[in-house]
Amino acid sequence: MGEVFDLQLINTALRQATPLILAALGGLMSERTGVINIGLEGKILMGAFAGAYGALLTGSPWVGLGCAILIGLLFALLHAVATQEFRTDHVVSGVAINLLALGLSTYLFRQLILPREERGLSSVVRGFTPFQADWLVRVPILGALLKDQTWLVLFAVVLPFALFWVLNQTRWGLRVYAVGNDAVKARTMGVPVKRVRYVGVLLSGVLAGIAGAFLTLASADQFRENMSAGRGFIALAALIFGRWHPLGAAAAAFGFGFFEALQMRLQGQPLFGVQLPTDLLLMLPYLLTVIALAGSFGKMKPPSDLGNP
């Protein structure tokens, strides 16, 4: 039974965590500017569909990735316009976006991909080539962690540090901080509040789109109905658990990915002589987030002036 924890488990955890990290950081970019973003789930789902369909039509995963980013941007733009121009409640807009994405991706799947299958064409996508014989794989520990992974995993590992630097060391990071904490004051100081928020929300669309593309281009090889399966909400949980900090959010997302990997590895086997029900393991990220919210830290940081452009 000591075979449960090994490098392969961490390898799987990284793979499971990658879409969560990307989406959580996307959510972070939006929420740090003060725009609540519960539409991550929908953007992941649309990204997964666009990624699969783009790659299916052209045979190139890069085109798929481009399509996923584009559709993520489009849905993010919808959220940005609704919240910034029409001053819609952020949560309502997010709910509508999730519903729209679930309906639209399934509708398009039935209209565009299923008829292809009925004609006998495969809907399996040519995804990104994983590391197999590269020099990376021959590095002792790193190799075992990255074996059979794609560059997107590396991207998800590096991105939190890059965002940490951007948010803390650049002028733009300072502006995000100002807008997210007191938009009125920021505006008085001459910060273009609306533009900062647009950029934040659009970035969340890009990252959630990439997270979706990862599902079809680096993980599952084909699109299925509602395949995001709640990842957008786990990412949201990771974002809160990580207290809106890029490294914290990424660490929490990795932790939640680890639970998934552990659950896949155990498959109902006992761990240390205890039978852990799969459902309870899957429940853990949500439960931990509620506990974190109940604790002394983790107060939600709502947009300071919700609705004013």
Binding site: T88, V92, L99, G103, T106, Y107, T289, K299, M300
Partner: protein
Amino acid sequence: MKTFRLNPSSRTWMQRLLNALMGAGVLFGTLTLLIALAGQPIGASYRILLQGAIGFPPSEQMTPLDAWDGVLHDMTLLLLTGLSVGLALQAGLFNIGAAGQLLMGALIAAWLGVQQGIPSSLHLPLTLLAGAFAGALWALVPALLKVWRGAHEVITTIMFNYIALYLTHWLVVEYLKDPAGAAPQTAPVRASAQLPPLGNFIATSWGIVLTVVIAMLLWAILYRTVWGYETRATGANRDAADAAGIPTRRRILEAMLLAGALAGLAGAIEVCGSQYRFFEGFPSEYGFDGIAVALMGANHPAWTTLTAFALGALRNGAYNLHVVTGAPKEIAMIVQAVLILYVAALRLRRGRLEG
């Protein structure tokens, strides 16, 4: 199309009419576009939609009673979850957790429904009450966290939806499974715990009547009692309500518990009046539809009732279109999402939704 009004209730009749007409335009525009993109003839598709929605014009596969049965069944669930979300919004809370509350209510009702030894005249009311109680309990923790710690109820109720999903799945697989079969579902509830159908001509249960009565009661509570006034005042402006001496924490807590009870009751009615058991993959998405219903119904029980009926008709119409022509049944979902965005863009927002 920007409206910069401080107080939407000062809208004139003209503007409201215009908004409604534009809403109808958005609805039929989206619907027509989706039908056309699915490669279906538009006129014939609308006829099939109407057959599913109101049973007119009658056809051989779909009699008016079949259609009304489907619509009333959906209306029951949509109305209860819509009232749940709407009531919480009246108190200034966004209850995204109706789906989880519905699941807990359904599971507890299914559990109590199979128990022996309960007097048969009490079995049904007890089962429904237990479902409502379970839903209220599931809303309690998010409500307490909101009141005590300021934790955003949107986040906690989303988390509780997933916790409910996995918890009910675990319980139904491990402990409550019908020993007579291998399927992950409970045994059917006893006859004494079943909601009887409205008549031998229609399968819809008395749940619809119960639900409409509850909607009327809720209207009376919200608009004709001090409690309702204080709850609405809390939602409109919590600071002002505090200053006026209203115990806003209590009102928020009570409204959220009642909202949870309504969603839990929806689950119980679905079990006792339609499914007769709890099973893996129990339809909880009605909880999310409740958000659309409440929003379009402006959180007012009367409008919510009307919206629940309309969306129930839309869903069944789209489903009929799917069955007859093979067009994707997600058409209803997309239209619903577009309608939410439209209504939300009109600034019918939380706390000031009385129109």
